[in-house]
């Protein structure tokens, strides 16, 4: 009868940052130990594995570059998501917003005649607008029809994916792609400059850091930020105070979608330099960023750290493949475990947990 509640749980009245930090670290440690079992199973000492992963991801030019490359989209998207989550809008659609941003940028890169020095800036603008538009759809659906944001954003990811598919197989397929499902390579004027010898498109990285800072100030220090927080914390109070929930939701999704769009521009014009299969274009950044934002406790500045963390994890995945020669799927197991342990830790923060049998 009472087996169901064998652990007792009370809300913590207040939440100290130390608790957060301590518990998170403990969780990751626990996850590493659990994952270690797999390495052992493959006859690799966990110590060696982790050492290799860290050095491989941070200890060398390639490693740092790879980590950075993964961090850029996670940072941009993650920042946008923290803002959306602040207004209690569960934007699971960053993946789709990224793709639409990429589409818009590609359109400008390949098909719009304009002075070359303008092309790149215009691409970024177009990407932002594209992502924003895609993000506004679920926002409107929510404020107009009250449609569950998780569901609608998720659905739109697939729609966006199919649009890309259709473009690269049909109208936009590149004449020089020899029938492969790509557009042509971008002209030099449409390529985001990289740090030489790497695929780190630094302008986008700078954009990301700027976005984090601006978003932080926006939410914490400005008038609209105040409104966002009120809406997110207590919609009724917002209505009572005459704050338009509609405006707020539209605003956050405009930004959230837009930033995801920028990430799309970065991937398509900084890394790939052509539009190609959605799965290759994004590597699931839109979903990983949800975790990044969630882990940052909806604080845009903290995203700088958490996105880098997941950059390391993703780059570490390469190490698992290259240096350890282990099946690449271990990366997913690894991420899955880390996640579950963090999820578990989440509630140790929000609640004080005591075990029934300890009380007796």
């Amino acid at each position: 009868m009472t087996r169901a509640n064998w652990i007792r749980i009370e809300r913590r009245p207040t939440l100290s940052p130390w608790v957060v930090l301590g518990v998170s670290v403990a969780a990751i440690a626990a996850a590493l130990i659990a994952a270690g079992i797999f390495f052992k199973a493959y006859g690799v000492s966990p110590w060696r594995a982790y050492h290799l992963i860290i050095t491989g991801a941070l200890g060398s030019k390639v490693g740092i570059a790879e980590t950075a490359r993964r961090t850029i989209p996670l940072l941009l998207i993650g920042v946008g998501l923290t803002v959306a989550f602040r207004a209690l809008f569960w934007n699971i659609g960053a993946e789709g917003q990224l793709l639409v941003g990429a589409i818009a940028a590609t359109g400008v890169a390949l098909f719009v005649p304009m002075p070359e020095f303008l092309r790149l800036p215009v691409m970024f603008v177009a990407g932002f607008v594209g992502g924003a538009m895609w993000g506004l759809v679920p926002a409107v659906l929510k404020v107009k029809f009250g449609i569950n944001d998780v569901i609608s954003t998720l659905m739109l990811n697939y729609v966006a994916g199919f649009i890309v598919q259709w473009l690269i197989l049909g109208p936009w397929k590149g004449p020089t792609a020899r029938g492969f499902a790509y557009t042509d390579k971008f002209p030099a004027s449409a390529m985001i400059p990289r740090i030489p010898g790497t695929t780190v498109h630094w302008p986008t990285l700078i954009l990301g850091v700027l976005a984090a800072v601006i978003a932080y100030v926006w939410v914490a220090r400005t008038r609209q930020g105040f409104e966002i927080r009120v809406v997110g914390e207590n919609p009724h109070a917002a209505q009572y105070a005459g704050i338009s929930q509609t405006k707020v939701v539209l605003a956050v999704m405009l930004v959230s979608g837009g930033l995801a769009g920028l990430a799309g521009v970065g991937e398509v014009a900084g890394v790939q330099r052509m539009l190609l299969d959605p799965a290759k274009l994004s590597l699931g950044y839109g979903y990983t960023a949800i975790i990044v934002a969630w882990l940052a406790r909806r604080n845009p500045l903290a995203v700088i750290v958490t996105s880098a963390l997941f950059g390391v994890i993703m780059a570490g995945g390469d190490v698992i493949k290259v240096s350890l020669g282990l099946p690449f799927q271990l990366v997913n197991v690894f991420n899955g475990l880390i996640l579950f342990f963090l999820i578990g830790s989440e509630m140790f923060m929000r609640y004080r947990v005591s075990f029934a049998w300890r009380k007796r």
Binding site: G56, G59, S60, K61, V62, A65, E66, R69, Q165, L169, G170, K173, R178, G179, F180, A181, K185, G197, T198, T199, V271, Q272, R273, L276, D277, A279, K280, L281, L283, D318, V319, K321, V322, S323, G325, P327, F328
Partner: protein
Amino acid sequence: MNKRLLGIIGLVLILAVGGLLAAAEEYVPGTPLKVGFVYVGPVTDYGWTAAHDQARQICVDAFPWLETVIVETVEEGAEGAVIDRLILEEDCDVIITCSFGFIWGTQEAAVRYPDKIFFHCSGFLREPNMATYMADFYQIYYLNGLIAGALTETNKLGYIGAVPIPEVKRHISAFALGARAVNPDAEVHVRWINAWVDEVGAAAATRALIAEGCDGFAFTEDTATVVQVAAEGGFFSFGHYSPMYVFSPEYCVSGQIAHWEAIYLDFIEKVYTGEYDAHNLKSVDYWWLLQEGGVEAGCDPGMVINPAWVDRLQGIMVDDPVLGTLSVYDLVMTRLQQMSDPGLSFDPFQGPIYDRTGTLRVLPNCILSFDGLTTMQWAADGVVGPWPDEP
């Protein structure tokens, strides 16, 4: 504070220099050789990547001085960094990238590391230190076509194509030419799944073609799905890339098997002996067919035609302007023999060949040039279905 800063700068410099040094040293012939393989799929895909990895294994067994590193499931576009790691951290001397999609990353890397040797599969870009290679199936698809054309009762054959690129189009046309050679009414119905690995899609496409009345199947997809789904309905099929006989001993008639090891053994050995180095590869392009042993006809090693079908094929007689009346079985064997011997007295794309729009594509008494094959966009007569970029 300053000390630490200096420390960091120093570290970075050392790493960078170290990197350059690692990149700088060129392979000395005769010394142990380390080769890095970059795969597009999982080594378990039982198609393209699996075939490459088996070939690698054979090389490792053959050359005691050879060490290999593999990286599987590398997204196209992410190959650049992987190559960096293979060179800087694993210090490989040779990088082999096993997918057309790696073309740009490989070429950029070749420029970035002028002293390393690169070997890119099925591409068309070459550098002094970057060669290309391909083991092509078009001859075998022609043989499969002969068999299919003879066996079909509905005169409709199905082909599940991965991606509409010249390579696949060439294979489909060869298959169609073969079928038409023994059965003028044969049609090859095509469906694209726009992916190299997509079981659900391949299964659905096969069922769609079955519904359209096709009773025999060839395909380009990196699993045995088509073979299995066809067998379910009692339809014959041709294995692709790996020996797929096991997936349907009763209905898998023949097929194509790749022998990448033939190419790898040759190339790696020539690097070892110093015949190939980082400066003389600009014009090295392996285009290996039956005759070089790059590929093999059949659904299982050494089994050109599934014994269960031999009698039936020997029973079907056809007329050939040159060879006269003979059984399809003999015809297949003759063509195979003709294409395997050095004299090369036969080629599937022997003129005159009209495409399905009626345009003359290969002049009488000519055979299609290498360039014509690798850039082929037209569809041979008898091909039915969508055909992107058709001229």
